[in-house]
């Protein structure tokens, strides 16, 4: 099963861990503030037998712990995608995402980022225009409105992100690695031996 490392970040109290648990466990739980960092595993089922494993680095949004990721960027290194969450009922939580996006991009480059507005069940304080502006500003590939309390769209950000990461990985995995591992094989159309085939360009590539 393909395994992806993702980062779940955002201001403290926006409901990151609650969203993750709503997706993972299918239930709404209220959580205390995450201490430092919590790492969880979950499986994303994309249908048609395609499943992926996510290692979710759920980072505390409390300012004192935010420094952890800032000071030890190695924790973020290798992430293939990120979910940046803010509380739709608190504009200040949206502003905090600039810093997270910068930190993540600095370490991992242009990985797919999904912007998530949580607590859609509450009176909104963030307008559609603000969201559009931030999607652009953060370079987010999508925006999803969620409510863990109502179990609204709790799986959507994870599924979307997996699809984006898979597309990106397909494009970036060095051909040599895929060839050596057998994912890609040279298709013998002329019946010649492997040694003979190595001497010439592959005639076609196909997946196992």
């Amino acid at each position: 099963m393909r395994t992806f490392k993702i980062v779940l970040a955002g201001d403290g109290g926006v409901g990151k861990t609650t969203l993750l648990d709503a997706f993972r466990l299918g239930k709404f739980f209220q959580h205390k503030a995450t201490i430092g960092l919590s790492i969880s595993l979950c499986t994303v089922n994309l249908g048609r037998g395609v499943k992926c494993k996510l290692i979710v680095y759920d980072l505390s949004g409390q300012p004192r712990f935010m420094r952890l990721a800032h000071e030890i960027p190695r924790i973020l290194r290798g992430a293939q995608g990120a979910i940046l969450a803010f509380d739709l009922s608190s504009f200040a939580t949206l502003l905090a995402l600039d810093q997270w996006a910068d930190m993540i991009r600095k370490v991992n480059g242009d990985i797919p980022i999904i912007l998530v507005g949580t607590k859609a069940d509450l009176e909104p304080e963030v307008s559609e225009d603000d969201i559009r502006e931030f999607v652009e500003r953060l370079g987010a590939r999508a925006f999803v409105k969620t409510s863990s309390k109502l179990m609204l769209n709790v799986d959507k950000p994870f599924k979307l992100l997996v699809q984006m990461m898979m597309e990106r990985q397909e494009a970036y995995t060095p051909l040599a690695v895929r060839f050596m591992s057998g994912e890609i094989r040279v298709k013998a159309e002329d019946g010649r031996s492997g040694q003979d085939r190595r001497a010439q360009k592959p005639t076609a590539l196909h997946k196992r």
């Binding site: 290692i55 952890l68 030890i72 690695v177 057998g182």
Partner: protein, 138 residues
Amino acid sequence: MAKTEELRNLLLSIRDEVPGVRALAVISYDGFVIESFMPSSVDEDLMAAMGSSVLSIAERMGIDLGLGNFELGIVAGADGYLLLTKAGEEAILMVLVNKDVKLGVALYSVKKAAGKVAKLLEGIPVGELVASRWVEGA
């Protein structure tokens, strides 16, 4: 012999040489499994993610507290020890040993083993080993 196979064999020999080993793994600094021998009840991906985070934080604490370069991390439980050490610039060796081992001997053996892993991985992009692993398992 492919590097992944060499690494697997090296880990098997470390498992035999280091006293009281219950499980061991070589992981990347990013928190991905490169090779491991873990009990089936344990999720190796989760352990790798946690192991690299623990080491990264411990390493930074050591530097800030003036302990110098990181050498080894020990997590002591009632029933055993988890030993974490760097194996070169891009990999970490995690070894789980029984509580009844002579800790000094285990530490020495693990550090020696980490040197062997580092030598084997020298010049190999760790990311490629990780990538080939997920492709194998796809």
